[in-house]
């Protein structure tokens, strides 16, 4: 199930909220587990079984790790951590990468693996990373093993963040899983965050996504240089508002159910370097790779050669995490190279540039690389990139470009404002009284407009089936 549907908003979620608040405290996790599983199995119920396997195996491994540590048997504890990581990676590998590997091998004449054509279980990249963090956290002593399997199941399947993050680390959530409070201020904050997220996804992301779809599908003979850049810009906005909208909705829903999740985005398009961009974009993923891959590899306190190796490993993994295809690997690899260059070559020079040049530098690479991210077929990707750099078969501009610019200009300007902290700062400067009057009106407007767009829902993609 996804959040941005009339069914979720006006059927599933009201029922869940009602049941949640009438249920006695001690049954709330059990109730959440049940509704989480319904949420998860909504598209393909059979995949609930994967969830059971995942919960069962990691639950047992957490306890085994803790027990081995209690007996001071570090080797055994380590073995259990590795065993659980292998299980999670195997699960992810099988469902997400099997076909990719099979096709790639077949392309070089090694067609011994059959292509299975399995549908990717929704959110698998998110929850396998989440459960992997659990045994590692227990091993590192950052959290105790969870003895209650219902509580553990609730952690693994928690529906607000199950399918598109943020990726929760067990250590951040351990206390809240066992016991949490329900202050009304948190609920009210959740209402605001959720509505903002819904509006970002339905009103901004879907709208600009339609513009990207025009340019993505445009025959290369008609593509212009201006159009290729407009398309890339539309995709950059679509992905940001879609993804951060989803994260906001997750945080908001979590708050309404008594949880506090960490935010996932911090105005990434205002970043002044690539490294800053990645401290602001999909924070829960970057920090996951930092905590569980980059630092174990030695982090940055190593020799130059090793640093380059570490960064490239992390960024190849980040790339392929986003989708089982070569373009994602290329996309991650390019970021790896850029980060190596920033760390070792031009970082200091970049710091001395004026802020607007730093932003142009960052956005240039981010935009170009979003195209690499968005177009999986290299026979289309390469001409699209060449079109961006002047070799467009359709010339520099055409009538259609002006039509689309005119039609989408207000949305693009809105998106531009929304991608900077300006709106938030302005809001904070309004008098308290005015905010109190405006807030319910804006919530109503956000819900009503989103409902209108969803009820006429001709265009409402879910972008993370790949992840």
């Amino acid at each position: 199930m996804v959040f941005s549907t009339p069914f979720f908003l006006f059927t599933y979620f009201p029922i869940v909220l009602l049941l949640h608040y009438v249920a006695p405290l001690k049954y709330r996790n059990a109730l959440l587990l049940v509704v989480n599983l319904i949420f998860y199995g909504w598209k393909k119920p059979i995949y609930i079984l994967i969830m059971f396997a995942s919960i069962g195996i990691d639950y047992v491994h957490g306890i085994l790790v803790e027990k081995a540590k209690g007996e001071d048997n570090d080797r055994r504890a380590r073995r259990y951590v590795i065993q659980s990581a292998i299980f999670n990676l195997a699960l992810l590998g099988f469902f997400k990468y099997w076909d990719f590997i099979a096709r790639s091998l077949a392309a070089v004449g090694l067609g011994f693996m059959p292509v299975l054509g399995l549908e990717l279980p929704i959110g698998i990249s998110f929850y396998t990373f989440q459960t992997m963090s659990y045994t590692i956290d227990v091993y590192r002593g950052d959290a105790g093993a969870q003895r209650n399997i219902v509580n553990f199941g609730t952690f693994v399947t928690l529906f607000p963040q199950l399918i598109a993050g943020p990726i929760l680390k067990y250590k951040d959530l351990a206390d809240q899983i066992d016991e949490r409070s329900y202050p009304v201020e948190r609920f009210a904050a959740g209402v605001q965050t959720f509505t903002v997220g819904l509006a970002k996804k339905v009103l901004l992301a879907n709208n600009l996504g339609a513009l990207w779809d025009v340019y993505k599908a445009m025959p290369l003979t008609e593509l212009t240089t201006g159009g290729a850049w407009l398309g890339a810009l539309a995709f950059a906005f679509q992905l940001y508002f879609d993804f951060s909208g989803y994260s906001d909705m997750a945080v908001g829903l979590g708050q309404m159910l008594g949880f506090e999740f960490l935010g996932n985005f911090n105005y990434p398009y205002t970043a002044r370097s690539i490294s800053e961009f990645w401290r602001r974009w999909h924070i829960s993923l970057s920090s996951w790779f930092r905590d569980y891959l980059y630092i174990p590899l030695g982090g940055s306190r190593v020799g130059k050669g090793r640093l380059i190796f570490n960064l490239m490993v992390v960024w190849a993994a980040t790339g392929i995490w986003h989708g089982a295809n070569w373009n994602f690997l290329l996309w991650g690899g390019c970021y790896g190279v850029l980060l190596v260059l920033e760390k070792l070559v031009w970082g200091k020079a970049l710091d001395r540039l004026p802020a607007f040049l730093q932003r142009i530098y960052t956005l240039f690479f981010v935009l170009v690389l979003w195209v690499v991210f968005a177009i999986e077929d290299f026979s289309h990707l390469l001409p699209y990139l060449s079109a961006m750099f002047g070799a467009a078969q359709g010339g520099f501009t055409d009538g259609a470009l002006f039509y689309h610019l005119r039609s989408y200009l207000p949305m693009l300007l809105l998106a531009l404002c929304g991608a900077t902290p300006g709106v938030k700062l302005l809001w904070a400067r309004l008098p308290e009284k005015l905010r109190q009057i405006l807030c319910p009106l804006l919530i109503l407007a956000g819900l009503a407009l989103s409902t209108a767009y969803l009820v006429d829902g001709t265009y409402n993609p879910f972008l993370y089936f790949q992840f």
């Binding site: 199930m1 209402v191 039609s407 207000p410 919530i443 409902t451 009820v455």
Partner: protein
Amino acid sequence: MTKKYARFLSAFFCATLTLGFTANALTPDKEFSQVENRSLAQRPAFTAKDVLSGKFMADYETYVIDQFAGRDAWVAAKAWSERFVGKQENNGVYFCDDGSLITRFELSEDDQKRLESNLKYIDDFAAKVSGPVKVGLIPTAAKIWAEKLPAGAPNYDQGLVISQTLQTLTTPAFGLTDALAGHKDEAIFYRTDHHWTSLGAYYGYAALGPILGYEPLPLSTYTKTTVSDEFYGTVFSSSGVRWVEPDEMDTYVPEDGITVTSHTYDAKGNPVEEPRQLYDKSYLTKKDKYAMFLGGQQSLGVVKTGNSDKPKLLLIRDSYSDSLVPFLTPHFSEIHLIDLRYYKRSTAQYIADNGIDQTLILYSVPNFVESSLVWLGR
């Protein structure tokens, strides 16, 4: 945030969700949407098989969307909102300055393939039947009224489909672009519907005269009768646009002495005859007013004119012919109409059995590329 305000905000949000939930639960389900002119999804049956496959859940979501309380108002609100933020189209329909709504024409790869197959089916068909077969293509408002579209609006040139058809077919084929473009300043298409008006159909009729071998009557022969001035057509429905004026519907040709019979088959395969009219005025009180012409869709229709000395014409056609047929009545004794979307028997056999003198395959360009003519092969 004070506790009191937090309580208010939380209650406000919950009340909004509850209102939506209750309104949806209390609104009775509708079978058919008059405004959108389509059947709405119904509550899916809860069966173990459909639940396990996920079909039940997918259908249920569609059901909630289709039966959403106040659906028509939401759809209209979205169109308004799109216009407000500067869009010049909604759901593939362009808002034109004079209040016309024009559906964008696109030719997908599938359409292109279907077009090529259709051309082959037609040549094969023409080679095997007795009597002449001709092909006519009608460009729609997106072509003839292209100047009305917003500047630079993407719109595939229907002229390319027509020229490909003319070049590829060995069967004689004709495009009606020039005939219609010559009158583009007149009301030859509805502003809110995808069809041509009776006036547009007249110019089509005039252009078909030399092709079908009749002398078209001058427009001044007829008396125009306005039968409705509140027609909102299919483009109005799909666009969500609710701020345009309705269309006027006219008829020109008197229906005296003409009988129309629609032929179908019942569940057991026995032939059933249903009498129809050239103009079925009962449709004028409904949403689908264009169905006034010949009573709307039918698999096989036979129009008898009483001019027994005249030849028999078969039209293999789409709904554009419904408003064309009145003009053809003086020149034929019988006009047979076959709609290949519904007629699944052998058309070649039909021609032989009914003594058809000549056949015209007449389609609007969008329908010609969107519907397969594979049944011609029977």
